[in-house]
């Protein structure tokens, strides 16, 4: 499986946060800018299996856009594909920048571009995706990503991971043949996610899976604090399994007390065995250099 040919690798994507380009506005607020290019791109989704994806910035999921509550955000969408696309952000914004056909900025036609501008609110874990009909198709092809708004008062220090639960309908029968977190099935089985014993781990978990009604996350040998949508700093549950429909997301906070390999996977066994499973490898605490 040649991840370098895809131009992105789940092992690095999992800790890749895109802070964009910042500048100061006249009122002193921070303006944060990104450019997303929608394009057609063939990606290898399993050894020898290629999928004609539609991608933002050449990767699936698209870049993890990270901002802080209250900032001004400006996102330029350039459409280099043969179909009309948009970016529809979850969050608070004006109708005109909602990324929906026939409203405000509306569709971005092939070869055209548009600018979405709004404030970063509310804090929490959100997502963005294309909102052009046929909707299921535009999402399943890969036009989605994580939109993270940190609270003004930052969350405690942690080893932060992004996990986008997705799947691929490789024969276009509106049922997924492959399931994964971060696109490539089983990738974290062969390259486990390395974490450190005793060090807090924060997982930004987003479900974008198309065609299946629900998805889930389960971790072995451990429990986590669950913050649905990340809009509160108080966890609602201490559990080892959560269930999410499409568009649902939340923050997991977990600490590994013991060394070893611990599985994580969808607790729909079918999804797990079709790719959505991986390992955490909890390694020893690094000795402070004396």
């Amino acid at each position: 499986m040649d991840n370098s040919r895809n131009g992105f690798h789940p092992a690095t994507l999992i800790r890749d946060f895109d802070q964009g380009k910042t500048s100061r506005l006249s009122d002193g607020r921070i303006l944060r800018e990104w450019t997303l290019v929608a394009q057609e791109k063939e990606i290898e989704v399993a050894p020898g299996v290629t999928f004609p994806a539609w991608a933002y910035n050449g990767r699936v999921p698209g870049p993890t856009l990270r901002a802080t509550e209250g900032e001004r955000l400006r996102i330029t969408l350039v459409n280099h594909s043969a179909h009309a696309h948009t970016i529809h952000f979850h969050g608070l914004h004006a109708a005109a920048v909602d990324g929906t056909a026939g409203v405000g900025l509306g569709l971005v036609q092939p070869g055209e571009q548009t600018v979405y501008e709004f404030d970063a609110e509310p804090y929490g874990l959100h997502l963005y995706h294309c909102h052009v009909t046929p909707l299921a198709h535009h999402i399943a092809k890969g036009l989605y990503g994580v939109f993270l708004i940190d609270p003004k008062e930052a969350r405690p220090e942690a080893d932060e991971l992004v996990m986008v639960m997705n799947g691929f309908d490789t024969n276009f029968d509106r049922a997924n043949e492959l399931y994964a977190v971060n696109t490539i099935p089983f990738v974290y089985m062969s390259e486990p996610v390395k974490v450190t014993v005793g060090e807090p781990v924060r997982i930004y978990l987003v479900n974008v899976l198309e065609y299946d009604l629900v998805n889930s996350f389960h971790v072995h040998g451990n429990f986590f604090d669950w913050y649905p949508t990340g809009t509160s700093k108080k966890p609602v549950e201490h559990t080892d399994t959560v269930m999410l429909c499409q568009g649902q997301r939340g923050i997991l906070e977990i600490t590994f007390p013991r060394e070893g390999r611990f599985m994580f996977h969808a607790h729909q066994s079918e999804f797990a065995e079709l790719g959505w499973m991986g390992f955490f490898e909890a390694g020893p605490r690094k000795e402070p250099v004396t």
């Binding site: 004609p52 046929p134 299921a136 276009f172 029968d173």
Partner: protein, 390 residues
């Protein structure tokens, strides 16, 4: 041959009237039955049975166009169209489709090359008629590939048959025993073609509206071709100056021609719906396959003088229809017509086989002897094996 009534005009009229009487009564009864709205019968048991068949799918940039035929007993009203579980905008010629009527549905949909689609036609009663598009590709404009189809028909029909006919000089030098075996081989080749065309015809017919005849059309086509060719053969036999070999060669050429019409039709329609990649393998496969047909044409004239002009004409009669078939198949896919045409090929071949059969007889007059049986089986095997290439 005189009839008793032939001399008397009044009596003749009476005969006619007596003949027409039952027909008149049937017409009156049908009219009365319709006016009285079928006395004694309940209108129907259960909801109307809706049966729609999609006869043609045309994919253009941003749109899918279907030609839908109503194959059921009741008129059907098309109300909505969904593509891949999502409702789509569409324009329709006439939403109410009468019995055996057809209409065109043009759906606005941004389909993507190479992907699969399922179109669901929702009728006014809430019934759903599904239509699958296994691989979406741009439907070529029929006017744009007249040349391409002619070339294709020439490659798979005319040229291979002509090459096969080049076996004639060799045929003239081999002993009579060989000729008998070659005739048996020809019968094997033809038998395989008949089986193939019959199966293909049934398959095509089942895709269409059953109310238009379905697989029965293959039978009608086969019997019609058989009878017409038998008549032509009898007429030719009665004409003076016709050599048996020439007659047989022409009949074989006509039979193979009708078969190639069906073959061209299959290639043309498969190409039009994108189910066929016009690769070199396919063309080479069909060409090798059809070369053996040329041998079948010249085998009957191996012992007779025959002009080059006549030979070329025979080649054209056998190979040319492939071009016609390819055009027809690419321009219109009406399954009932295709089934009928394929049926014609089956009947023509059956007739030709019966014509050739006597030439397999050996010195003692036996039809089935080890050499002829070997020849027939080899012929079928040869066709099967070369058919694998296509």
């Amino acid at each position: 041959m005189t009839r008793h009534t032939s001399g008397r005009g009044g009596s003749r009229l009476k005969t006619w009237l007596l003949g027409l009487l039952p027909l008149a009564i049937v017409a009156l009864a049908a009219l009365g039955f319709a006016v009285l709205d079928g006395p004694g019968l309940t209108e129907r048991n259960g909801p109307p049975a809706e049966e729609l068949v999609v006869e043609r799918t045309t994919l253009a940039a941003g749109s899918i166009e279907l030609v839908v035929r109503n194959a059921g007993p009741d008129p059907v009203t098309l109300a909505q169209v969904a593509v891949n579980d999502a409702f789509a905008d569409f324009r329709i010629g006439e939403p109410v489709i009468g019995r055996l009527g057809s209409t065109s549905v043009r759906i606005t949909y941004p389909w993507v090359d190479g992907e699969a689609y399922e179109v669901a036609l929702l009728t006014s009663t809430g019934g759903v008629v599904g239509h699958e598009i296994p691989v979406a590709v741009l439907t070529p404009d029929p006017s744009g590939f007249i040349g391409l189809m002619a070339l294709l028909g020439t490659y798979v029909g005319v040229i291979p048959v002509a090459i096969g006919m080049l076996w004639l000089p060799w045929l003239r030098r081999v002993p009579p025993g060989w000729i008998r075996t070659l005739m048996a081989l020809t019968i094997g080749l033809l038998a395989w073609l008949a089986i193939d065309a019959a199966l293909e015809g049934m398959e095509v017919a089942n895709e269409g509206a059953g109310a238009l005849g379905g697989a029965g059309l293959v039978g009608i086509g086969a019997i019609a071709a058989y009878l017409v060719l038998s008549g032509v053969q009898a007429w030719m036999t009665g004409r003076p100056g016709q050599q048996g070999g020439h007659r047989l060669a022409l009949l074989v050429a006509v039979g193979i021609g009708l078969h190639n019409l069906g073959e061209g039709l299959a290639i043309g329609s498969a190409y039009a719906v994108g189910a066929l990649a016009l690769g070199a393998t396919l063309v080479v496969g069909f060409a090798i396959h059809n070369t053996t047909e040329g041998l079948a044409i010249v085998a009957p004239v191996s012992e007779e003088r025959v002009s080059a002009l006549r030979l070329s004409l025979l080649g054209l009669v056998a190979g040319g229809p492939a071009i016609l078939g390819a055009w027809l198949g690419a321009a219109t896919t009406q399954p009932a017509l295709a089934a009928l045409l394929l049926g014609l090929g089956v009947g023509a071949i059956a007739q030709v086989i019966l014509q050739i059969a006597p030439s397999m007889r050996d010195g003692s007059g036996r039809l089935l002897h080890p050499l002829s049986i070997t020849g027939i089986l080899t012929g079928m095997l040869l066709m099967y094996a070369t058919g694998l290439l296509t």
